[in-house]
């Protein structure tokens, strides 16, 4: 089991997103997929933003995985992602918004699990 919180930080966690303009309406949630927009230069970002961009250079991750890898609370990384997505640094793919499960998705899950 990995826990990202084994050391004490000098800078409080909430500072990670403190300088970002975070939109009022946030759609980002735990399973939102995050990836880096093409040709992004991360030099102008604060350290947490740089870490996040570096983490995502290998490919997309869910917000929750980002939080675990960065060792920051989910609620902070959610804001960080929302802020960086609003500024165009990151792109996101939201999970399906539908109220109930979609039959097509259910079939994909079923056939995928059965094939394992």
């Amino acid at each position: 089991m990995t826990s990202g919180r084994q050391r004490r930080r000098v800078v409080p966690d909430f500072m990670a997103a403190a300088k970002l303009a975070v939109p009022e309406q946030i759609n980002v949630e735990r399973t939102t997929l995050v990836y880096v927009a093409p040709e992004v230069v991360s030099d102008a970002l604060d350290p947490p933003g740089v870490h996040l961009v570096n983490l995502l250079k290998e490919g997309p991750l869910s917000v929750y995985e980002c939080a675990a890898h960065l060792g920051l609370p989910y609620c902070v990384v959610r804001l960080l992602v929302a802020g960086l997505a609003a500024s165009g640094t990151l792109l996101t793919r939201d999970p399906p918004r539908a109220e109930g499960p979609d039959l097509e998705i259910l079939e994909l899950v079923l056939s995928g699990l059965r094939a394992l």
């Binding site: 990995t2 990202g4 983490l55 869910s62 939080a67 499960p101 259910l106 079923l110 059965r114």
Partner: protein
């Protein structure tokens, strides 16, 4: 961080699907998430704010404004979809977290332990309050007493249609079979 970076990544054309594995403390949630996950299970701190509860609730505990917990998290990539598995705590004080976690989730697999079946009541309450579809899987321990299905259903007050399974949370095949039963149940509810 190096191991994290070298772990396989998914492509953005996968549809993210959220599944919750719930149950009381020590029932085997972490074990099951590990058995199913293709990545080493992760966890991060959840900060549960007091938003939504009465301010009065904080009387006498002024210095304590948040409660933290951790959710186990695993990933399973299938063709076209990526399953995100959350091992969620079952205590009623996590109601706020549950409401958020349940939003958009496909369903919940509730793990139960027949040695302390009453520990599952709070979880079932949370799941039912969240209005989310579920199946119950009894995680069988070596010293678990065997009860007839009917007795278990009655003890858990289950709807006759709700699947009641027996599984071994350590065994990936058994854990997958439980998920398949859950998803089949959700599908039946949808098409009926």
């Amino acid at each position: 961080m190096a191991s994290a970076l070298s772990e396989s990544r998914i492509s953005v054309d996968h549809i993210p699907v959220k599944l919750i594995i719930a149950g009381p403390f020590g029932v085997g949630k972490t074990t099951m998430v590990s058995a199913l996950s293709e990545i080493k299970p992760l966890n991060t701190e959840e900060v549960l704010t007091q938003a939504g509860t009465l301010v009065d609730d904080l009387t006498g505990v002024n210095e304590k404004t948040t409660t933290t917990t951790a959710i186990d998290f695993g990933r399973l990539t299938l063709p076209g979809v990526v399953l995100y598995l959350f091992g969620a705590p079952g205590q009623t004080r996590f109601q706020v977290l549950w409401e958020e976690l349940a939003r958009g989730a496909l369903g919940v697999l509730v793990l139960a332990d027949t040695r302390r079946i009453d520990d599952s009541f709070a979880v079932l309450d949370l799941v039912e309050n969240a209005g989310i579809r579920y199946a119950v899987a009894v995680n069988h321990f070596p010293d678990s007493p065997d009860y007839p299905d009917e007795a278990l259903r009655q003890a858990l007050d289950l709807d006759p249609r709700t699947p009641l399974l027996v599984c071994d949370a350590r065994d990936p095949a058994s854990a997958r079979a439980s998920l398949i039963a859950l998803v089949e149940h959700i599908k039946e509810l949808m098409v009926s």
